[in-house]
């Protein structure tokens, strides 16, 4: 081969132009999505901001008087629901992820489970609503309660939490596990002291993103029969209960089995109302919901940033 490189035709100019073009297209696309989000936010704030007030947040819903209607029951209902979702889905999800990633033998059964979980993450949420209706509402007779709603959403986010946790666990380098085993650690000690702590920021990020998805879901809750018009907050009053452990327990039980609403349902319901004033309330409700979601996502981003700084390997 000649040293001069007569066999090369570099076409440098054309290659550079192509690269520049590609970058420009990418920027355009990302700006488009940003633009859509921007328009949405501006519109929501333009309509909803004037209606947003402490009274709006604290008032119970009203079918007849938009000026008195508030989001309080839906807000508290959402908090109850997501709390139950978290209590059910976090231990189950992380436990399953630890088993699949750290203990399960690499065989066809494990593979089948993994593929199934990945598929479950893609199942439409309304289908989980049907499942929740069959299992929690009908079979276990929890009725259309906070408990049914929370558990249904837990089923919905469980695959997401498992997948995110598995990825976080898989990202912990094997050399850390080997180091622990080599000083005579058991598998449990290795996982407890080294693998889980190293994976925790990733797991927490995944959990928060999954829960913020749960907060925004309306379809499965509508499916299990959650109401838009509820006059009392679940567990809103401690009156009539004993000031004892048994009293707290029966308060908790009643609260979990109470009818409830949730913010997405309330918003959906307001949008559907014939009076224009209720549409304004819907926008205000969206602001409250977005506020909650952004706070949760900010925490997730914060944890990720913290991990970048405190990179542990």
């Amino acid at each position: 081969m000649s040293a001069g490189g007569a066999q090369f035709r570099p076409r440098l100019q054309a290659r550079r132009t192509l690269g520049w073009l590609f970058a420009a297209v990418c920027v355009l696309f990302s700006l488009t999505s940003l633009l859509v989000l921007g328009v949405l936010l501006v519109e929501v704030f333009r309509v909803g901001w004037p209606a947003l007030s402490w009274t709006f947040i604290r008032n119970l819903p009203s079918v007849l008087f938009p000026e008195q209607a508030g989001i309080w029951t839906a807000l508290i209902g959402s908090i109850w629901t997501v709390a139950i979702t978290a209590l059910a889905a976090i231990p189950l999800g992380i436990g399953a992820a630890v088993y699949l990633e750290e203990y399960a033998p690499r065989n066809w059964l494990t593979n089948a489970i993994s593929i199934n979980i990945a598929n479950l993450a893609g199942v439409p949420s309304i289908v989980y609503g049907i499942l929740g209706l069959a299992i929690f509402v009908r079979w276990l007779e929890f009725d259309r309660s906070v408990l049914s709603g929370g558990l249904t959403l837990a089923l919905l986010v469980l695959p997401v939490i498992i997948i995110a946790s598995r990825e976080a666990l898989a990202a912990v380098p094997d050399s850390v596990r080997q180091a622990a085993y080599a000083v005579g650690a058991t598998r449990w000690q290795t996982i407890r002291h080294h693998v889980l702590p190293a994976a925790l920021p990733g797991i927490i990020t995944g959990v928060i993103l999954a829960l913020s998805r749960a907060v925004g879901e309306a379809a499965p809750l509508i499916m299990i029969g959650a109401l838009a018009y509820v006059t009392s907050v679940p567990g809103g009053s401690f009156e009539g209960y004993d000031h004892s452990l048994a009293g707290v327990w029966s308060w908790l039980r009643d609260a979990m089995l109470a009818d409830f609403s949730a913010m997405p349902i309330q918003i959906y319901n307001w949008t559907d109302a014939p009076q224009k004033e209720f549409h304004v309330l819907a926008a205000a409700g969206i602001i409250v919901l977005l506020g909650g979601l952004l706070t949760m996502n900010a925490v997730a981003v914060g944890i990720r940033a913290w991990r970048q700084v405190h990179r542990t390997w």
Partner: protein
């Protein structure tokens, strides 16, 4: 898999490895009567799936000596080393034939608890792998989880001194081990292995990720450690084996070609393949 193994054995006649009788005994002569070897390996074969990593290896590893295992890449030296504390258990589809004994304990028997075995047979890895925790915790953790009842502070100091690292880190024990240089990290890993007060130290190419200065510090350290521990060192660096080891085993394609006193193996090898390898004709 068993079928395959039998088939292999029938047409590949295992060459008889040359383990010079008395090589160990001669070394111990003049001291106490010849000590029992720490490890006795008898016709050990290890397969990963269909791949045979080591085949019919038989050798003894004596106490308080440095035994080097050399050979070209892929000859099975790491596999042999990891068989000694069962770190191979984590490789999927691994099968073992033959026997390996640590003192009187059959290593690959149901009665052998690998967790207990690894407390006695510590290990230092090729790439420094400190825990992403403080220097102090790196050293103390192994002792703590193994139920060490003594004073941890003392143990940490003693172990770091044994690894020739104390003076460099004594004022920053709470700092992350990951802030240390590569050579310091590797000495920390040695301190971590020493802290559980093992009987044996396995070292899997402990210097291959280090610069020459850090390497020579580790080599000096190995020389000191052998007064207290039995050291088994895997290395692809023949000069290193010649410098620090008392005995050397040469592995080729999973088989033990020859094991002898290091000085004799490097000057008068009894096998032509050893001769070719140490003179750099291959590998």
């Amino acid at each position: 898999m068993v079928e395959r193994a039998r088939g292999e054995r029938s047409f590949v006649a295992p060459p008889t490895p040359v383990v010079r009788e008395g090589a160990v005994a001669a070394r111990a002569a003049g001291e106490n009567p010849p000590a029992e070897p720490v490890f006795r390996i008898r016709e050990l074969s290890i397969q990963y799936g269909a791949f045979t990593a080591i085949r019919n290896v038989t050798l003894d590893i004596p106490e308080r000596q440095v035994t080097a295992i050399i050979g070209p890449s892929g000859c099975g030296k790491s596999t042999l080393l990891r068989a000694l504390n069962r770190m191979n258990d984590f490789v999927p589809h691994m099968t073992v034939r033959g026997q390996a004994y640590y003192r009187d304990q059959a290593i690959y028997s149901l009665r052998c608890d690998p967790v207990e075995l690894r407390r006695r047979v510590g290990m230092v890895f090729q790439k420094p792998n400190p825990f992403p925790k403080s220097i102090y915790k790196n050293v103390a953790w192994g002792a703590r989880i193994n139920g060490y009842t003594g004073a941890l502070d003392e143990l940490v100091e003693r172990s770091l001194r044994a690894a020739a690292l104390w003076d460099e880190v004594k004022d920053k024990l709470d700092e992350s081990a990951l802030n240390l240089s590569g050579g310091q990290q590797q000495r920390l890993c040695i301190a971590r292995a020493v802290a559980i007060q093992p009987d044996v130290l396995l070292m899997d190419e402990p210097c291959s990720a280090l610069d020459p200065i850090a390497t020579s510090r580790i080599e000096d350290l190995i020389d000191e450690l052998k007064t207290r521990f039995t050291v088994v060192l895997v290395t692809h660096n023949m000069q290193q084996a010649a410098r620090v080891s008392d005995l050397t085993a040469f592995l080729l394609m999973g088989e033990l070609v020859e094991m002898d006193d290091t000085s004799r193996l490097f000057t008068k090898p009894s096998d032509q393949r050893t001769q070719d390898y140490i003179t750099g004709r291959f590998g």
